[in-house]
């Protein structure tokens, strides 16, 4: 596995054109995504791609890929992480999630299975105990040369940045809809309690160094800065 620090390419594109246009009378926003645009150029002429979407079930995304002859897998890892059976206590007696059980029940795929993984904002909202194990599993299920798209909030987004679901509505355009939980769910070990919540809570803000360390097993990493306090990242296995 090559080190990211030896052969990654970092490209900072200022003002990548992400703009939010509020839809009238709804909680949906649209934004342009440079990362998605780059992915779309990659799969433009490809056939039969195998894609993993890690957001909540999206008919829009399923339609987008199946109309182009690709296979899409849908797996909502954030919702899966709220399973109360995952709760354990670590060596210090602090509440945590059982990452071994989580990976036994989720992301169970053959090695080198996917061409594309759409992580969206998963790392920002996933419980701390699950982030590294999940990224490690994603590396193994991606094909060599496969790509992973992820979004990270910048510090300016603030601690109450809402968790959105991203729907692909164009080659480089996403519709964002705030995730509203319909039942009680954990907000992560930081909260330490099960509360009624209307969504997932931002768990952390990654800086570039954190992101590079997290994805150090990947061959290359590319960042795209945007105006809306979201930093997009495209990594290649």
């Amino acid at each position: 596995m090559s080190s990211v620090s030896q052969n990654f390419m970092k490209l900072f594109r200022g003002s990548s054109g992400a703009e939010t246009i509020p839809a009238q009378g709804s909680e949906k926003l649209t934004r342009r995504s440079s990362g998605l645009g780059e992915l779309a150029r990659t799969w433009q002429n490809a056939e039969g791609l195998c894609i993993l979407d890690l957001g909540s079930t999206s008919a829009t995304n399923i339609r987008h890929f199946t109309e182009r002859g690709h296979r899409i897998y849908s797996e909502d890892l954030l919702t899966a992480s709220t399973d109360p059976e995952l709760l354990i206590k670590d060596e210090k007696g602090v509440a945590a999630l059982d990452s071994r059980k989580f990976l036994a029940d989720n992301l169970v795929y053959p090695a080198a299975h996917f061409d594309v993984v759409l992580c969206w904002n998963l790392p920002d909202y996933l419980d701390e105990s699950l982030v590294k194990p999940v990224v490690g599993r994603l590396w193994s299920v991606l094909k060599p040369g496969g790509m992973l798209l992820a979004f990270f909030h910048t510090r300016d987004a603030g601690p109450d940045a809402p968790c959105h679901r991203f729907h692909i509505v164009g080659a480089d355009t996403l519709e964002m809809k705030k995730i509203v939980l319909s039942r009680e769910a954990r907000r992560g070990t930081g909260a330490g309690q099960t509360t009624k919540s209307d969504g997932f809570q931002l768990q952390r803000v990654f800086n570039n160094r954190h992101i590079e360390n997290l994805f150090h097993d990947f061959a290359s990493i590319k960042f795209f800065l945007a105006r809306d306090n979201i930093r997009e990242m495209l990594v290649v296995r």
């Binding site: 079930t57 008919a59 399923i62 339609r63 199946t66 109309e67 296979r71 849908s74 797996e75 899966a80």
Partner: protein, 118 residues
């Protein structure tokens, strides 16, 4: 297929919500299932509706499949699959057309033999 009115409807078999079946089901008529089934269901040429109280653990093969309840298993529909907003499906879906309401939960692969997604 909507929830059936009280009383039997001709041409529609029904499994009520208090019924639990363990074993393979097959038939040549439409089926409305609001109970629990552990085993595969084969209704080639006909439709299966899993009602809001319905729970299926096993693969399903039919012409059309509508899910309002819970289904753990692969779905193979020669025509169409509909996941209503209360659907919880864990398994792969293979069909010609698929319709997914907002709120439906799907964990698995979607394979469309003809790209006609609604």
């Amino acid at each position: 297929m909507s929830a059936p009115a009280s009383g039997l409807q001709s041409g529609l078999a029904q499994i009520g919500k208090s019924v639990f079946i363990k074993g393979e089901l097959s038939g040549s008529e439409d089926l409305y299932l609001d109970g629990q089934v552990e085993g595969s269901i084969a209704l080639k040429g006909n439709s299966l509706t899993v009602g809001p109280n319905g729970q299926v653990k096993g693969s399903v093969e039919a012409k059309g499949v509508v899910v309002q309840g819970k289904l753990e298993g692969n779905i193979k529909a020669s025509d169409r699959v509909e996941l209503r907003k209360s659907a919880i499906v864990t398994g792969d879906v293979s069909t010609q057309r698929i319709s997914i309401e907002e709120g439906a939960y799907l964990k698995g692969k979607v394979d469309i033999s003809r790209a006609d997604v609604k």
